[in-house]
């Protein structure tokens, strides 16, 4: 206690020097915590976006991931309901699961009769409400793109898809430009003859080896009455087992930005029942991927192990991939940001260490006589060393605490001043956030870093002072 008191009072001797040192530590610790909070936001935003698109795990038919991208539908899973039930009813997985859903991915050609334009596309069939639930996954509470007024053009108004709108679709902005679609398409009214009678009962397409014009017609009433309707698109896809292409007409509900430019330029999202029927006419629902969304990303390893056990136990011809494998961008980005963080961390550590070393050395030089006195009256070398290191520690502690306050203020300030920007690889606005309060680990890391710096950089001058000859030190009285 006496040492603590003495250390605090010694810090107060040269107030300006101590204040400058404390401020430098505070700015460094605060800056580090803010950068950590920013990196944390980036990691979580990308994780949230990736998991919100792909889930934590995707289960495919074996070899789909390596060989199926050219013809995904050829690797479709035809017993989706059975697999979904198996996963949802597993007692180990059940408490961890947020959602099990399916997707079907396919490629084809899209044309717009009205604008006389055509393009290749990537089709993604989803269960609309489940897909919406998937995209809403946000356990970290970060500001989502659809909450920003800057993105209101894209995310307001009609939902992208609806469970009861079998023929509705959303088109990526880039593809919409190619097809020269209206910027704000309005959904065809529900009473429109274009709608199937029931979402769960999509119109059956007759078997045919040729272009399935009857199927096309049955799906798209408006096409007959208004072949030039700008909201309608014709899709042409090759059946997975070969033969003549199948065709259908879909209604554009919405034009949407996508997470990446590539997706924005190619993706058409539609009801999975429509997509499955288009590819596997008259057959039960097919999916190319069963998506597993967990409540927490921390459970991914556990869930993966469990899913693998289920696959093995039930001799299913399936394989699985975790979200970081599906989008390797994430671990690469994470590594890059971590490296930048480490670099900045080292720079700040060196700077703060030199500053504390300098402050401590100067303070010790000014107090050599006093150090000699303390040693003369019986303070041991180790006790003196501890006292001097305690002074450095107090500087680090005060600077670190102030740094935490700076970081928290920075966090709040970022929330208040509302900085938005378009991040690389993404096509819509994101709000800059620093997850300092929502990820207090960064605060703790910066604080402990500051303290360690203070201890290490004051240990050396303290050692030098403690090893001085008493008589030599007393000469400076």
């Amino acid at each position: 206690m006496q040492n603590l008191l003495l250390a605090l009072r010694n810090i107060g001797r040269n107030k300006r020097r101590s204040l400058v040192t404390i401020l430098a530590i505070a700015v460094s610790c605060g800056g580090l915590a803010l950068f950590g909070g920013y990196a944390s936001w980036m990691f979580r935003a990308v994780e949230e976006q990736t998991v919100g698109s792909y889930g934590h795990l995707q289960i495919y038919r074996k070899d789909y991931y390596d060989k199926g991208t050219g013809n995904p539908a050829a690797y479709a899973i035809d017993d989706y309901d059975k697999i979904k039930k198996l996963l949802e009813e597993d007692p180990v997985l059940k408490p961890k699961l947020d959602l099990v859903t399916g997707q079907i991915l396919f490629n084809g050609m899209v044309t717009s009769a009205k604008t006389q334009s055509a393009s290749t596309f990537a089709g993604l069939g989803v269960f609309p409400s489940e897909d919406y639930h998937l995209t809403e996954w946000n356990p970290y509470g970060i500001t989502r793109a659809n909450e920003l007024k800057e993105n209101a053009n894209y995310f307001s108004g009609t939902p992208e898809l609806a469970d009861d709108d079998i023929t509705g679709c959303s088109v990526g902005l880039g593809l919409a430009k190619v097809l020269r679609l209206d910027e704000k398409p309005e959904k065809t009214p529900a009473s429109s003859p274009a709608q199937p009678t029931a979402a769960s009962d999509p119109p059956k397409a007759p078997a045919s080896d040729g272009v399935d014009l009857n199927f096309l017609t049955s799906q798209t009433g408006p096409k007959e009455s208004d072949p030039g309707d700008k909201q309608s698109l014709d899709l042409l896809v090759s059946p997975p087992n070969g033969g003549m292409p199948n065709a259908t007409t879909i209604t554009v509900r919405k034009l949407m930005p996508r997470a990446t430019k590539e997706m924005e330029d190619t993706l058409i999202k539609l009801h999975i029942k429509h997509a499955s029927e288009l590819l596997f006419r008259g057959q039960p629902l097919h999916v190319t991927a069963v998506i597993v969304l967990l409540k927490s990303t921390d459970d991914t390893d556990m869930a993966m192990a469990r899913v693998q056990k289920l696959i093995d136990d039930h001799h299913l011809n399936l394989e699985q991939k975790r979200w970081e494998e599906i989008r390797p961008f994430f671990p690469r980005m994470k590594r890059m940001i971590a490296l930048i963080f480490d670099f900045v961390f080292v720079l700040l550590v060196v700077m703060v260490s030199f500053l504390i070393y300098n402050t401590q050395s100067a303070g010790i030089m000014e107090r050599l006589g006093e150090i000699g006195t303390l040693r003369a009256i019986g303070v041991t070398r180790i006790s003196l060393w501890r006292l001097l290191v305690l002074e450095g520690l107090m500087l680090g502690l005060l600077g670190g605490l102030l740094g935490m306050v700076f970081a928290i203020l920075g966090d709040r300030l970022c929330q208040v001043i509302h900085i938005v920007y378009i991040p690389p690889t993404v096509t819509f606005y994101a709000k800059l956030e620093v997850l300092v309060l929502r990820n207090p680990v960064v605060l703790l890391q910066a604080f402990v870093g500051g303290l360690l710096c203070a201890i290490v950089s004051s240990a050396l001058p303290a050692r030098k002072a403690a090893r001085m000859e008493i008589v030599e030190a007393l000469r400076h009285s």
């Binding site: 006496q2 003369a376 019986g378 041991t380 008589v471």
Partner: protein, 229 residues
């Protein structure tokens, strides 16, 4: 063993310094003894080696050769850590420039040696208060050294030196920074406390007034003991 062994026994103490490449002999084979409760003065001209001898006797500096025994302990054989503990328990120091810790109050300065010796807080505070009363500073217990006169600071230093009831107090020119009246008062105080506590004092000084009060007088010249009376 004699019935009343001396408090300090020094046998052929030498202390050499290395000045560049030259060896300087500051103290040359000095032998002396100091009785318990004695008031000993080391005097001599500047550079005679009296401060060096005082430092060696105070275990602040190690002799190059010779044997030193204080309170029955062969301090020549002790390491730095043990010497620190020995100083804390058995020795007290009074310096020319008072050498108080400027950030501590008078009370805290006097308390400090008890902190080193792990005396319980309540007891140390009480004893420090009593000590300051006995040196006439009861009204200054919460004053810092910068808020006190030289004489008052030296009183605090005397209190600090005596608070652990040491066997020996070493004082290096204790009156040099004081006016003669204050110096005399300080010497009176030291005598009074010596009588009350039975502590031996070894004082290094130029001051004839101080030297005149010695019960044992050691004269140094050129590092050698010239007279021990």
């Amino acid at each position: 063993m004699p019935e009343n062994p001396p408090l300090v026994e020094a046998e052929k103490i030498s202390k050499n310094y290395l000045l560049g490449k030259t060896v300087v002999a500051a103290v040359k084979e000095v032998s002396l003894s100091v009785a318990r409760g004695a008031f000993t003065v080391i005097s001599g001209p500047s550079g005679s080696g009296k401060s060096t001898l005082l430092h060696v006797l105070g275990c602040l500096d190690k002799a190059t050769s010779g044997m030193l025994r204080i309170a029955g302990e062969n301090v020549s054989a002790l390491g730095d850590h043990e010497l620190s503990l020995f100083r804390a328990r058995k020795l007290g120091f009074i310096f020319q420039s008072f050498n108080l810790i400027p950030v501590l109050t008078a009370l805290e300065n006097v308390e400090y040696p008890m902190r080193i010796n792990k005396v319980p807080h309540k007891e140390s505070k009480e004893r420090a208060r009593e000590m300051l009363e006995s040196v006439g500073l009861s009204e200054y217990i919460h004053h810092r050294p910068t808020e006190m006169s030289g004489g008052q600071c030296q009183r605090v230093a005397i209190g600090r030196a005596l608070i652990m009831k040491p066997d020996l107090v070493l004082a290096d020119e204790p009156t040099a920074n004081l006016d003669s009246a204050t110096g005399e008062l300080i010497m009176e105080l030291m005598h009074e406390l010596k009588r009350k506590m039975g502590t031996a004092f070894v004082i290094s000084t130029h001051d004839p007034m101080v030297a005149a009060q010695a019960e044992q007088r050691i004269m140094m010249r050129d590092g050698k003991l010239q007279a021990n009376a």
